[in-house]
Each structure stands twice: as C-alpha cells, then as structure tokens.
Symmetry: C7
Subunit: 73 residues, 7 copies
C-alpha cells in the first residue's frame, strides 16, 4: 500500500527538470533541488512557462499548498 | 461501516485508467500507478481531456486537495 | 446529543439513490455504495444532473471537502 | 464563559424550523433534526428560499463548513 | 503577552451591540449574547446593514470562520 | 533561528499605529492594542484607508486568517 | 531526505533581498530579516513591484499562508 508517495516520487525527480502547475493555472519549469513532505519545492533555473515562450525567475521556494501537479519534463 | 474508503477504492483502480476532475473543472485521464491517504495521485500516460480532444502531460503527481472526484473510465 | 451524525445519516442511505450538491453548484445523482467520516462518497451509476437532462459518469469517488449537501432522492 | 456555544444553540432549535445561509449566499429553510459539533446539519422538509418563492429539496445533510449563519425562523 | 485576546475582547462586548463584517463584505449588526474560542458568535436582534438601511434577521449563530472583523458600535 | 517571529514583531508595534492589508486587498490603519499568536489583532482608532481619504471604524477585533501583511506606519 | 527545507532555504537568504509572490499575483521585494516555519516573513525596505516601477511599503510582516513563492533577487 503506497505510503509516502509524495516523497518517493519527488526523490526520483531530484536534480531533474520538472514542470509544476500552480493554483490559478500558471506553469513553472525548473530543476528540482529540494522538497519536503508538504510539497514545498525548491527549484533552480526556474522559469514561468507560457504557450510560446518563457520568463526566467531563478531559484525559488514554492509553497506546497499552491501546487496542483508536478510532472517530470 | 466503511473505513479507509479512499484507500480501498483506489486499490481497485491501481494500474487501470481513471478520470480525475480537479477544482476549477478540468479533467485529467491517466493510468493510476500510486496514491496515498491524502488522495495524492500518481498517474502515468496522463492527459488533459477536453470535449473533443486531449493534450498529453506524461507522468504526474497530482496533489490530493485539488481532486474533486475520481472515476474509473 | 447527536454524535456521528454524518455516519448515521449516510448509513441509512447506503445502496439508495442520493443527490449531492458540490461546491460551485453542480449536482451529482448516484447510488451511495460507500462513505467515510470525511464525507468522501462512493457512488455508482452516477450522473451529472442538469435542469432538463443528465450526463452519466459511472462509478465515482467524490472527495468530501467538495460536498455542500447530500439528499436522498 | 461560553463553551460549546454551537451545541447549546442548536439543541434549542432541535425539531424547529431554521434558516441557514450557506457560502455563496443561498438560503435553505428546514426543520432541524440533527447536528454535530462541526455544524453539520440534518434538515427535513428543506427548501431553497428565494426572494419571492421557494424550491423543495426534502431531507438533507448539509456539510458544516458551508454554513455562514443559522437562524430560527 | 496577550493570550486569549479573542475571548477577553468578546467578554467586554457581551450583551452590547456589535458590528460584524463577514467574508464577501456584508455587515451584520446585533447584540452579542454568546461566543466561543472559534469566534462563533451568537447575536440577537441581528440585522443586515446596508449603506442607507437595514434588514432584520433575528437571532443568529454566525460561524466563526466567516468573520473578518468585529467592532463595538 | 527565528521562533515566534510573529509575536516578537507585534510586541514591538504595541500601542503604535500599523497598517494591515486584508484578503481582498483593503487596508485598515489603527493603533495596535492587542494581538495573539493567530495574528488576531485588536486595533483602536481603526479606519479603512482609501487612495485619497479614510473612513473611521473605531475599535476592532480583526480575525488573523484575513491578514495578508502588517506594517508599522 | 530534505527535512526543514523551508528553514534551510530562508536561512541562506537572511539579510538579503528576496522577491515574494503572494496569492492574487502581486509581487513584494524586500530584505529578509526574519521568518518562521509557517513561512511568515519579516521584510524591511519592502516595496510592491510592478511591471515598470515600484511602490515603497517599509517594514512588513507577511503572513505565510499568502505566500506563493520566494526567490532571491
């Protein structure tokens, strides 16, 4: 029975690029360099992703309760 | 008296296709490959489902508090 | 003094048709086949209910925090 | 110092008509036949109340976190 | 260091008129006749307050999580 | 490592004017005369602050979960 | 396995400029002078950041549940 699903999945994505959809619908892409059990995410080389381009943000701490979904890219 | 309804139901859907309606109304279809008691869901071959077509996303971790309902397809 | 109101009420509706109003205002009708203390509901033969018609969904797990009210039909 | 205000008040309204305003602004009127400490309410002969008329719903379980206020009628 | 600020303040307003602003922006005026630590409020002679007039509601139990602010009038 | 940041900061502002931005974007200015660890705030001489004027409210208890930010003026 | 991600990251940014995106989409820039485990942030020399200019606020306590993301500038 899956326990700690969140942690196991995020561990597999560590130091790899992920896309994160946040509440309100916007997308952030970055390298996952940290996380915790609340789904707080630490991303480097992060950028807002738009339909046809993107906008760099740098390193970010994303508060977990804003996360809708996370996907390896 | 049903206890752990969520876990029992999700167990039956493991490795099978499910449709998930998230807050805001959008639909995601994918193969359920993991879950936990918070309704965090791990889907593979996921895609956004629209009225007449769909848009692939790949593997995703969907945060449980965004889930409205889950249905086997 | 009513304790476990939720559970007692849902028990009486088990295997019977119920209407559920969810946040945002939409209505779902289905046969209640499971529930838990968070008001997570398992419905079979579920369908979206509109003013003049309905749209089948099948079996669903409805996450309790989306529920506004439940009514036997 | 008032403790269990909710329970004491609801007890006085048991088996009497109440009006409930829910989030989003709509009004429900019904006979209060059950409640718990989360403000989950069990109403019979419930109806949606509009400015000039009303629309019957029957018996309902109203989830407490949707309640704004309760008033004896 | 203020502890139980809520309770102390409400105690001073007991049996006195208060104005309560609720989420969404509406105002309720009434005599505070009860409260608890969740800011659930029991008001008598309550009324909706508008710019130029008011609309009586009677006795109400107002659920604390809808409260924005409370002010003696 | 900062612990009880909230309490330490509010202590320094006690009996001094503060501006509070609440959810939805409105501003309240007043003298901070009490607070607790939930960021419930007790203000006297409070007023709604608009771009070019203000509107007095008097003494208020502001429920902490509506607070976005607090600033000494 | 990252534990206390939030605290570790904020520690590295102490006394340095950060940009904070809050719910609703607005941006605040300031020097991070305090924080706690709820992501409550104490900023000095804070300012609202707009596309082409900014608007000073001074010192602020920002309640953590309004935070979407934090980024060193």
């Amino acid at each position: 029975m899956p326990i700690d699903l969140t942690i196991r999945l995020l561990k597999r994505s560590l130091n790899k690029p992920v896309i994160v959809k946040i509440k309100g619908g916007r997308l952030i892409r970055g390298i996952l360099v940290g996380y915790d059990e609340h789904l707080n995410l630490l991303l480097k080389d992060a950028e807002w992703v738009y339909k046809e381009d993107s906008d760099p943000i740098g390193s970010i701490l994303l508060r977990g309760d804003n996360v809708v979904l996370i996907s390896p890219t």
